[in-house]
Structures are given as C-alpha cells and as structure tokens.
C-alpha cells in the first residue's frame, strides 16, 4: 500500500508543527522520519495514522483519499513510543484486542495470536501481564498487537527510544528482517540517525515542520542537500567564508561551487566532515582539491576504532576536528600527540550559501 501526503499543514495554537509537507511512500518501503524534537515528525506520523487531522492538505492510500477517515477505519498498525499496552490484560489478550473488538471467532483469535507470538518470539509468554516483561519484550508485544489486525501500513513512533543500547540494536535488526519477510509499507519516527540509516530503505529528514531532504540513506548521507541535514547527520567542521566565480576558499584551498558562478562575492559556509579529512606528515600533498593545510595537533582522544584529533590550522584560531581510523593512525609515520605538526588534506568539502530560513 502506497501513501501520498499532499501539502499538509498543521498548527497547535501558535506552533506550526507541519508546514506544507508532501511525501510519497512507495508500497513495501521502510521509511524513516528523522529529525530533532519539535521537527514535526511525530505529528506527521499521527496524521498518517488518523490520530490527528491536518488543517490543510490531504492523504491518499493507493490513490484513495483517506484524509477524513478516523484512525479506527484506516487499518493501520501503530506502535507507540511507550508501548501503550493494556496493563490489566495478559499478553495474549493485548495481542487479541483488535480481533476481539472485530468479533473474530474465538478459535481463529487463538490461532492468529499464537502465530503472532511466535513471530515476535514470545511463544509461551501469552499468560503474562505486561508488567512481568522486559522493555524489549513489551515492545514486541506492542508490535504483535499492531500486526494482529493485518494492517495495510505499519507506523512506529520512536520504537526503540525507551530501550537500552544493546536491546535497541538487536531489536532493530530483527525489525528489518521482519519487514523483509512481510514486506508491509512501514514508517517509523526517530531522532537517531544511526537507527534511521541502518533500518530504513528511505530517509526523510525533517526540521521546523518541513522536509529538508528525502532519499536513500546513501543519498542523504553522501549528498546532503541542505546545511541542516549536513549538521544533523553528525559532527561537522563549519567555516564561514565567501564564494565567487564558482569557487569558495577554505584556508586558501579552492573548493568548486558551480551553483554560484557570479563574480560578486557572497557569504558562504564550508562544511568538512571529520572523517573526510586526512592527516599526514607535514609537507604539501597533492589532491583533488589542490593542496593540503599545515596544522598542529591540539588534542587527541580515542573512542574505540576511531581516533579523534583536534588540530589548529596555522594562522587560524578555529579548531578543526579530524577522525582517523585507529588502525590508520597506528600506521602513520608520525605520532599523534599534542604539538605535532601535520598536514590536513580534505577529501571532500561542501559549500552552502546560508538562506534566510536556515538556522540551527
């Protein structure tokens, strides 16, 4: 089942949660709505579910307008952030709820619930109360309950937000496999980019009630289309500079920016990702962008497989962060320690001209 969101706006009082948002979700896709809190991602999910109604715009499922349809008639599965299990019911009855209110015959309910409990690997726990389960188990009960009514779409609101790190990683790999098995169109909300990128076929980055970018994880990561996406996707070195004649300059290193061919110089920002910078012994290194930059190391911290190096380009006050795989760092001809002189070579850099709407 495909979903088409057309020009949806929604305000809560004076707060504009969604501002003219359009989104297409192809049938069978697992899509992530990624963004900081207050970006409108949960509101969008709730509108798709029929729990909120848009002030303007429409929603279609397989070409059928369902904007006015209430949650009860939409046949969607919804998994709440804090599970929202029925505390007074057993696990079995929780999963059976959607079938019971549909007056499905009891024998059929039993078969279906047992099948689902097997699917979410909770067979034998049907008699327990939710309070007797761990967080990960509760989440799987919530999922089984949502799937029981054979929904056409599965919606998940921060599905792993309340779980500890290890369970979270396991559960999301499991959810990915489950999605591949049943192939249902699914949308989940997250503020964790790692989660979005690992799990989703498609990522939609949202900010201030608007969609900043939609694409596959690779597209979004490799070609962030706005400064916000660039910033949101992780640590990044930002430099204020100017652009003219299709080029921006970063410490004298020219960076192509064909989108601005004008001669009149204009303010621009240069973004460099820490892992797209190379560190080498001092001395000029030829590279795609021309030259390298002389700098001295200020600080070195190791976090597992990545060694983070903070250095200061000569003649600059602003620190530059470089991530080096620890393996590579060991193989360098120089020791990475404060005071060492190094050459920094950017493999990649992006230039954005700040628009009026952009703010962090």
């Amino acid at each position: 089942m495909s979903i088409h969101v057309r020009s949806i706006s929604k305000s809560f009082g004076s707060f504009q949660a969604l501002d003219d948002v359009s989104l297409d979700v192809a049938a069978g896709t697992l899509l992530a709505l990624l963004g900081p809190s207050g970006s409108g991602k949960t509101t969008l999910l709730r509108i798709i579910a029929g729990l909120e109604f848009p002030d303007a715009g429409s929603i279609e499922e397989d070409g059928e307008d369902i904007t006015e349809r209430h949650a009860r008639q939409r046949e969607v599965g919804f998994v709440f952030q804090h599970y929202a299990l029925f505390r007074h019911m057993s696990v079995f009855e929780n999963v059976a709820f959607g079938l019971r209110v549909r007056k499905v015959p009891s024998a059929e309910v039993t078969t279906r619930v047992e099948e689902l409990l097997r699917l979410v690997r909770l067979e034998g726990l049907g008699g327990r109360k939710p309070s007797q389960l761990s967080g990960g188990q509760r989440q799987r009960v919530a999922l089984a309950r949502a799937l029981a009514i054979r929904p056409k779409i599965l919606l998940l609101d921060e599905p792993f937000g309340a779980l500890d790190a290890k369970v979270r990683v396991e559960l999301r790999q499991w959810l990915r496999r489950l999605h591949d098995e049943i192939g249902m169109t699914s949308v989940f909300v997250t503020h964790d980019q790692e989660e979005a990128f690992e799990l989703a076929d498609e990522v939609v980055v949202m900010n201030h009630g608007k969609i900043e970018q939609q694409g596959t994880p690779d597209e979004v990561f490799d070609r962030p289309s706005t400064p916000f996406v660039m910033d949101f996707l992780g640590n990044v070195n930002v430099y204020h500079g100017r652009v003219e004649n299709g080029r921006a300059f970063w410490h004298g290193i020219p960076i192509d920016y064909p989108a601005y061919p004008h001669a009149q110089s204009r303010e621009a920002r240069v973004y460099l990702r820490p892992h797209e910078l190379e560190i080498s012994p001092p001395g000029a290194v030829a590279n795609r962008l021309g030259t390298s930059l002389a700098a001295s190391i200020v600080r070195v911290t190791r976090s597992g497989p990545i060694t983070r190096v903070a250095c200061r380009p000569h003649g600059s006050e602003q620190e530059l962060h470089v991530d080096v795989p620890t393996e590579t760092a060991r193989g360098l001809q120089i020791t990475l320690e404060p005071g060492t002189h190094v050459a920094i070579t950017p493999r990649n850099a992006r230039v954005f001209i700040p628009g009026p709407e952009y703010s962090i």
Partner: protein, 298 residues
C-alpha cells in the same frame, strides 16, 4: 559534617559494622523519614488511642448486658427498621455518589472549560459545611412550599421528611469522597492506550469499557467504600430532613440519640455496637473487592 560521618560509616562497611555505625545509619535514615521504630510506635498509638480504645469501651459497655439482654435491647422491631433504613439508604447513596463521582471526576480531569477551577473547589464544600446546614437547606427546598417542592410535591416526589430526602443528603455528604478518589487516577491514565484501542478498531464505548474502566474501577470501588462509610456515620443532615419517623425514616444514629434522650444508655450502646459490626462487615467486603480489582489492574 554529616557528609563526613557518612563517609566514615561507609568506609567501615568492609569490616563487621559496629553498633555505633549501625546507629549512625539509623540516625542518617531518620533524617529523611521517621525511622521504622518511631513511625510504628506513632501509628499504633494513634490507632489505639483514637479508634480501638473508644470502640473497646463501647463494646464492653454493651457486653455487660449479657447475650440475652443484648439481643433484647438491640434487636427490637424499631431498631431493626432503623438498621434497614441506615444500610439501605447508605448503599443507595454510595452507588449514586460513585456513578456521579465518576462522571464529575472525568470531566474535571479531562475537559478544559471556563470555571473549571471554581467547580473543582466547590466539590470540597460538603466536607467543610456543617452537615446540619445541608439538612436544613435541603428540607426547606423540598417541603411543599419550598422552591423545588412546590413543583415536585404535586408530582408525588417528596424530597423532605422521606426516605428520598435521606438519600439526597447522604449523596451530598459522600460525593466529595467519590470524586476525589477517582479524579487523580483518571488524570494519571495513559492516554496512549485509548488511542491504541481506537486504532485497533474499538468503538468509544468498547474503549471505555475494556481499556479505561478496568484501570479506574479499583478507585471507583474505593470511592464507593469511603462514600458508604461516610453515609453510614452521617447524623447531622439526616436528622433535619428525614422527619425521623420510627419504622419509616428513622436511621440508626438517630435512634441511638433518641434512646440517649430517654436515658436508655444500655439500649443506645447495643444499637451502636450492632451498627458498628454491620458497617465493618460491609467495609471489609468492599475493601476485599477493591483489592482484587486493583491486583487485576496491575
């Protein structure tokens, strides 16, 4: 200084704790909440001095009559009728209060409307108002020439000097309990579960009956128990509205006072003891039910 003492007691923890250290720990805990010993002593003392002791005196007084004398004094036809009125009217009032209380609590907890705070404050008024005043006001409203009575009495509805009048004032005095016990529970309900039920296809009624009600039912039953207890003990308002007709609208507490006025102390005491026993039994039954529901709702 306190922090230092804490450190020393923690450091000593590896060796067997000396008495001084143990006392130190007790003292440290006592600074946050009263220690177990002290609070147990205070609790026992309060319960003994304020509840158990007076009741024991009451029972002993009644017991001095002997079994036959007790029965003769406490089980007269007039007393039996009074028990029936007391228990019956209280049960009816408690049921009405619980149902009304649930509705009012729901609205106060869930609906935002102008004047909500005022109404929220008014709910507590019956607790503060001398109940005799309530009884007087109610009876003046419902008598034949009263503001409401002039319309209701011709219809055959006698709100004053009648059984109905007793139920009316008992609802008045017990309603705050039914509301105040349920309201915070409704406020703390997980709204997501209601949305979950709706998405799963439940109607509003199904959502309320299957998802919401099981969560608040223990509180409703607690509210019922408190309302019942309040109604059983009520005297001041009933005495002004019921007309106190023996065999018809005389409640047990009024009978007790009537006997006292006749200087029939022994009989007054026996009626009180029997009323107490019946009330206690009822409350134990309701509390057991409440606990069973609460366990189920976990």
């Amino acid at each position: 200084m306190i922090a230092l003492a804490d450190h020393s007691s923690l450091a000593a923890g590896s060796s067997p704790p000396s008495d001084a250290v143990r006392r130190g720990r007790l003292r440290r805990r006592a600074a946050v909440l009263p220690g177990f010993g002290a609070s147990a002593a205070i609790t026992s003392l309060v319960v003994l001095a304020l509840i158990v002791f007076p009741l024991t005196v009451l029972v002993l007084r009644a017991a001095s009559l002997g079994p036959a004398g007790f029965l003769a004094a406490a089980w007269t036809p007039r007393a039996r009728a009074a028990y029936a009125v007391s228990l019956g009217a209280s049960l009816i009032a408690a049921v009405i209060s619980s149902l009304l209380g649930l509705v009012v609590a729901w609205v106060l907890a869930r609906v935002r409307f102008p004047g909500r705070r005022l109404i929220d404050a008014l709910v507590d008024v019956p607790l503060a108002l001398p109940t005799a005043v309530a009884g007087l006001v109610y009876s003046s409203l419902y008598v034949k020439k009263g503001w409401l009575g002039q319309w209701l009495v011709p219809l055959g509805i006698n709100g004053a000097y009648s059984y109905l009048g007793i139920v009316l004032v008992l609802v008045f005095v017990s309603l705050p309990f039914a509301i105040r016990v349920v309201q915070p529970v409704i406020e703390s309900l997980d709204r997501d579960t209601e949305e979950a039920a709706r998405i799963l296809g439940a109607s509003r009624l199904q959502t309320f009956l299957r998802v919401v009600l099981p969560g608040i039912l223990p509180a409703v039953v607690t509210g019922f128990a408190l309302s019942l207890a309040r109604a059983l003990g009520e005297y001041g308002s009933v005495v002004f509205i019921s007309g106190n007709m023996p065999f018809k609208t005389e409640i047990a507490p009024v009978l007790i006072v009537a006997r006292l006025e006749e200087f029939a102390y022994a009989e007054a005491t026996t009626v009180a003891v029997l009323l107490l026993a019946m009330s206690l039994t009822l409350l134990v039954v309701v509390n057991t039910l409440q606990q069973r529901l609460a366990r189920n709702a976990q």
